[in-house]
């Protein structure tokens, strides 16, 4: 009962037009839920609504009741209903269709019921028929409002889709109703449905005596008036249907039934000849649809008109500039507009569908004339624009036709190919292997560019027609493939012709080379066993291209073209897994290039060989293996050549080779299978080579080589799996233990012993040490490193001797070692704690600390040892600290304290610190905070704790600030500012924004301190960037506004900073940004700012002047209007 009470309430609410739509929706929802839950039945609802359904008040009746009922049904789509209920409801709605006041409710009610599917209680066919009849008779669609019209069309669509039999019974009536409904419709969403309705009708009445056939002309008239679609209101209606979709719908409607053909095709041809591009594109698309749906026999009548129109469209849409560039080697070489593309599609469709259309093409006078045009000009650029157009379009027409089907290809080749060959003077092979030589005959090859282009287009088109190997067996090799035999007859001579085109080309004209290479590429891309190009010919192509690459001594267009062609062929072979061709490719291209890499003397510069080899070989895994093997050998031979003979050229080759591995191969690791394994082998053989060359008879200062080797080694280890890393590490460890390096481990860590050390490692040891450090840097935390303790010793001593790489390796090791006592990981024999013990090597006590009391700390603070030792120790400490910092270890705090201690002017014992040591200490903060490229990053598997920078920031900044306040000398003050600037500028900007209030004054002070000396210009710039970040942000706005006077003062000074242009530029930009502050706050400074900016108008750098003009303009505009300049 309660439900019923509520119901009355909700009904009242829904019927009341004065209430808001949300209110209506709510009450609707409430009723629907109770219906769905079964609390209320439809019958009850109807009974309850009795009054509203029969009242004489039109508004209440239409809106309240009928619409309510309809919307309710829409909600209950999936609720099973009794068939009797459905029947009575649909009867009710059908009757109401006649009453115009309640038409919306009636329409949506019918629609909701008709849409019901399956078991949920559906409308019977008889009822549906009644709905359709009532609708056709009593509704004038075009007199309704937009939403109602849409409902009408949806209802029609639904009826046609769901009750086809019933609608067939109605026959003519439906067609009339549709015609009437569409007539004059202008709204895109309605039209979209209307077009679909036409399509459905056409499908329902396919018979030639049916209603659609008899009414075709009327129906077509109503839809054709929309063609081509043009939106008059383009903007503002985003929810509406895009033009493309609607145009597609129209096209489907027009092409829906063959009965439209007598009217449609003439109309489309007429529109095609229009000058409006949209009309052209739409007509071409629609013609294609028509060709598919109307059938060959009907289309045939129009061929005579269709062909010239199509040809004209092609001519009009082709541009004459043919590109001879590298990028167009695998594409047609000219721009394709939309019209062009659609025209091509249509042509292909027509030819594919009916071979007799090809007759028109073949007999066309313009097509046949092209051979004359070709033979008139030798070079493409000599041609007149009209001739160029002729050649391009005809090539396009012929190649598209050839591509359509095997039959059409045969016809095209039979008709034109021999003629083309005659024109070009290419002779056919009389018997296998026997070639008619040019010098014997009077005809010699004439390489007309136009002809070559046509020939290439034809060959490229035909290559897609070769069936893949599986299909090949099913279709008998009959006369179907006659084009194949034609190409086969000419293939040898064609290859020769293309080869001579390439060879005759000179540098200033790339067209010859381009056409030649493209031709060879086309010949080389025929698939499968039934290819018209024999294996020996294919090999000839490869040989030619390879020889082009090997013969050139500079990077010419020809060289690049040939390389690209080879790469294309390589990936083609890989894609279609052509084993036979892969073998030829391997034997001719890969082996040749790899042997070039190996041989130390050839005309081609080494980097070019490397580039060619790496490009070509990355097309297939087996080639990659081969290549890396070749690289290995080349590296070994060059390296030993250098060691034994002192050939500096070989060491240069070595570094180029390593660079190639790093830059070309490593980035493609994920693309190429098996590359990782080969590279690991490569790394191991590098170690082998170094191990075996015991004596470096020539001292070399080849920094370049060492750098390249370190980089390659580090990156290979970085990408390798843990197992491979282990084997590399083991190998490297063996090498290192056989060298003289272990002797260093035993050096006691005392000042006296360390003072005695010079940079006295031999070249070989230095190389080994650097490489080993790289291996350690790249190793993942899971890799097992043998004998960690002595390695820590080794690195410690060597960084104190000045090898920074060793410090980085030590930092990486510290970063990745396992913590904890005993070690859960068996592979390491040393835990983090033990390693730290060794490093910080307490001088007296047994406490494990790493602060200033330690040996290392004492060196840093200058208690003992020379200045050199001190600076090295500081740098080393920074790297160790970085390793600790990134893993979130507490020890870093003490290291930071030591470093800050170094920034004070005097140490605890009262001795003044050397400026250079202070500078190193300040830079140590950059090392700690910045992201390093060379070690301790994600690529090298560093252990990175989140927010480590923020943590360091919050620890160090307060201390640094208080140190700045208490600093005693200007130098110490500057250095503290440098350190602070490093910390501040490397922390994420959000942290700064949270602390703007605190930081702003110290940043400003820093800016003025750092601007004194040009040494700090980079630091100054990064600090300025931090400031500029705070200016624009809403969080910082308040404190910026409070400090406006200081900020402006500081920025004004920086506008004339002489040492770095970007500083001046940024300062001026910041000044312009400040205009966003409240007017009253900045107005007092305008004179000062304008003066500074006016001075900047005369800046030596143009970019600064440009900024100054903008800034000046902006600041002028806030001063009074009476001063125009």
């Amino acid at each position: 009962m309660a439900a019923l009470n509520n119901l009355t309430e909700h009904l009242e609410a829904f019927v009341d037009v004065t209430r808001s739509p949300t209110h209506h929706a709510e009450s609707l929802k409430a009723i629907a839920t109770s219906l769905e839950k079964g609390v209320l039945s439809i019958n009850q609802l109807v009974v309850e609504m009795d009054m509203y359904l029969t009242t004489t008040d039109d508004v209440v009746r239409a809106r309240g009741s009928i619409l309510l009922l309809a919307e309710m049904l829409d909600y209950l789509k999936s609720k099973p209903l009794d068939n009797a209920v459905v029947h009575s409801l649909i009867g009710f709605f059908t009757a109401k269709l006649a009453e115009w006041r309640s038409v919306r409710g009636a329409l949506s009610g019918c629609l909701a019921l008709i849409k019901r599917k399956g078991v949920a209680g559906v409308v019977t066919a008889v009822d549906a028929e009644a709905v359709a009849k009532s609708m056709a008779q009593s509704i004038q669609v075009q007199s309704l409002a937009l939403y109602d019209r849409k409902l009408c069309f949806e209802l029609l669509e639904c009826l046609l889709e769901q009750y086809p039999e019933a609608m067939i019974n109605l026959g003519d009536l439906m067609v009339y109703a549709t015609c009437e409904a569409i007539d004059g419709e202008k709204d895109p969403p309605c039209l979209m449905i209307a077009f679909h309705v036409v399509e459905l009708l056409a499908r329902l009445f396919p018979s030639p005596s049916g209603p659609v056939a008899s009414e075709a002309s009327d129906l077509f008239e109503f839809i054709s008036c929309y063609f081509p679609l043009h939106y008059t209101h383009t903007k503002g209606d985003e929810a509406s249907i895009p033009r493309e979709d609607l145009s597609r719908g129209l096209s489907l409607a027009i092409s829906s039934t063959p009965f439209f053909e007598p009217y449609a095709i003439p109309l489309l041809l007429e529109k095609l000849s229009a000058s409006l591009p949209v009309a052209k594109v739409d007509s071409l698309k629609c013609l294609k649809d028509c060709a598919v749906n109307y059938g060959v026999s009907r289309m045939k009548k129009h061929y005579k008109d269709l062909w010239p129109a199509l040809k004209d469209a092609l001519y009009a849409s082709t541009k004459t500039d043919l590109s001879f560039g590298l990028e167009s080697l695998t594409s047609p070489g000219f721009e394709m507009g939309e019209i062009h593309r659609e025209a091509v599609n249509l042509l292909q469709r027509l030819v594919k569908q009916d071979i007799s259309f090809l007759g028109l093409v073949v007999e066309d006078i313009r097509v046949n004339m092209v051979f004359d045009t070709i033979s008139r000009y030798l070079r493409y650029e000599e041609m007149l624009d009209t001739s160029k157009l002729e050649v391009l379009v005809v090539s396009q027409i012929l190649s598209v036709s050839a591509r359509s089907s095997v039959e059409s290809c045969n016809i095209i080749f039979e008709t034109f190919f021999s003629r083309l060959m005659n024109t070009l003077g290419i002779v056919e092979k009389t018997s296998p292997g026997d070639l008619v030589h040019n010098e014997n005959s009077t005809v010699s090859t004439r390489l007309y560019h136009g002809g070559l282009h046509l020939c290439i287009e034809l060959l490229t088109a035909s290559k897609d027609l070769i069936p893949s190997s599986e299909e090949c067996t099913s279709t008998p090799e009959s006369a179907q493939q006659s084009w194949c035999s034609i190409v086969n007859r000419f293939s040898a001579s064609l290859i020769e012709a293309f080869t001579s085109a390439v060879q005759s080309s000179n540098d200033d004209c790339s067209a010859d080379a381009y056409l030649g290479v493209k031709g060879l590429l086309a010949m080389g891309m025929f698939r499968g066993g039934s290819s018209p190009v024999s294996r020996s010919e294919f090999e000839k192509i490869l040989t030619t291209l390879t020889s082009i690459i090997a013969a050139n001594s500079a990077k010419t267009v020809k060289w690049e073209l040939a390389l690209k062609a080879l790469v294309c062929m390589g990936s083609f072979i890989d894609r279609y897994s052509e084993s036979e061709k892969a073998m030829s490719y391997m034997a001719i291209v890969v082996e040749n290039l790899v042997s070039l890499v190996r041989s130390s003397h050839c005309s081609l510069p080494h980097p070019m060989i490397l580039e060619a080899t790496s490009e070509v070989c990355s097309t297939m895994p087996t080639y990659v293996e081969k290549m890396v093997e070749g690289f290995e050998e080349a590296f070994c031979s060059s390296f030993s050549d250098f060691c034994v003979n002192g050939n500096f050229k070989s060491i240069e080759n070595c570094s180029q080779l390593l660079e190639c591995v790093t830059n070309k191969l490593l980035p493609r690791l994920t693309e190429i299978d098996g590359l990782e394994k080969s590279l690991v082998n490569f790394a191991i053989s590098m170690w082998n080579q170094i191990e075996s060359s015991i004596v470096f008879s020539y001292d070399f200062n080849g920094r370049e080589f060492v750098e390249a080797a370190m980089k390659t080694m580090g990156e290979i280890v970085g990408v390798a799996s843990v197992d491979s890393q282990n084997s590399i590490i083991q190998k490297a460890y063996n090498v290192i233990s056989s060298s003289t390096l272990p002797a260093m481990e035993s050096i006691p860590l005392t000042v006296a012993a360390l003072e005695g050390l010079q940079r006295n490692l031999s070249t070989r040891d230095e190389l080994i040490l650097s490489l080993f450090a790289s291996v350690i840097i790249g190793a993942s935390p899971k890799a097992s490193i043998p004998d960690v303790k002595s390695l820590v010793d080794l690195f410690l001593v060597s960084f104190l001797k000045g090898y920074i790489r060793a410090a980085q390796a030590l930092g990486s090791m510290i970063n990745k070692l396992v913590t904890g006592s005993g070690g859960t990981n068996i592979s390491t024999d040393c835990s983090l704690e033990e390693a730290c013990d060794i490093i910080f090597h307490e001088s007296d006590s047994s406490k494990t600390i790493c602060g200033s009391e330690t040996f290392l700390g004492k060196i840093c603070l200058g208690f003992c040892g020379s200045l050199d030792l001190q600076t090295r120790a500081i740098t080393g400490l920074a790297w160790i600290g970085k390793g600790l910092l990134m893993r979130g270890d507490k020890r870093v705090n003490e290291i930071a304290l030591v470093l800050m201690e170094c920034l004070k002017s005097t140490n605890s014992s009262g001795n003044a610190l050397h400026p250079s040591a202070m500078k190193h200490a300040a830079d140590a903060f950059l090392t700690l905070m910045s992201d390093s490229e060379v070690c301790l990053n994600r690529k090298f598997h560093a252990v990175i704790r989140p927010l480590y920078k923020q943590r360091f920031f919050s620890i160090t900044v307060p201390i640094l600030e208080s140190l700045i306040v208490n600093s005693q000398t200007p130098l110490s003050r500057t250095m503290l500012h440098v350190a602070l600037a490093h910390v501040v500028s490397n922390v994420p900007v959000t942290v700064i924004l949270d602390n703007t209030k605190k930081l702003l004054s110290v940043i400003l002070e820093g800016l003025s301190v750092l601007s004194v000396d040009s040494v700090h210009k980079e630091t100054l710039f990064s600090l300025l960037l931090v400031l500029s970040g705070t200016l624009t942000d809403i969080k910082g706005q308040q404190s910026v506004s409070d400090n406006a006077h200081r900020i402006i003062e500081c920025l004004v000074k920086l506008t004339s900073y002489p040492h770095l242009m970007v500083v001046r530029e940024t300062a001026i930009q910041c000044l312009a940004t400040l205009l966003e502050l409240p007017h009253g706050r900045i107005y007092p400074f305008r004179r000062e700012v304008l003066q500074a900016v006016t001075k900047a108008l005369d800046d030596p750098k143009r970019r600064v002047r440009e900024e100054a003009i903008k800034c000046r303009q902006a600041w002028t505009s806030i001063s009074s209007r009476s001063t125009p300049f």
Binding site: L1097, D1098, K1101, E1106, K1110, R1112, T1116, R1121, P1124, F1125
Partner: protein, 170 residues
Amino acid sequence: MVSGLINENPTVYERKERRVRTDSTNSDEFSVEPIDQLEIFDILFFDFAFINIHHIRDIRDPEHPYSLEQLKVLTEDSVEVDDLKSYVRVTFTPTVEHCSMATIIGLSIRVKLMRSLPPRYKIDIRVAPGSHATEAALNKQLNDKERVAAALENPNLVEMVDECLSPSFE
């Protein structure tokens, strides 16, 4: 203001492809890049619009919505500049001989340059010889310091000049 346009149907030329600076990647920190012809031309045309970088602001012909460049009133070659002597001369060509707008165009050019060049510069604005009926008077008027200053105290004139220098949204 005049009623009706003085030149109702001006010839509109296509914009010339802009000369691109080749030495833009000058890495030397201390080398001097003197103010040159192109830079002045850029100041006059290619606006480094402060508020909206995406729109090109040109000085516009007061009569037509076309920019002076499109009407060939100004070309790059019509700018002469000597950075060492701090001297710049701009020669412009009014579209018709009796164009009464020539003074406003000249004044706009002068104001734009005064705002954008260092104060050391002497600016000389001229009408191309033979292109205007009252050429001599015009040249005298445009280069008379007192008269220019006086003109810029007239709020109506300043408004017109600002209008000319305002962005045209293309």
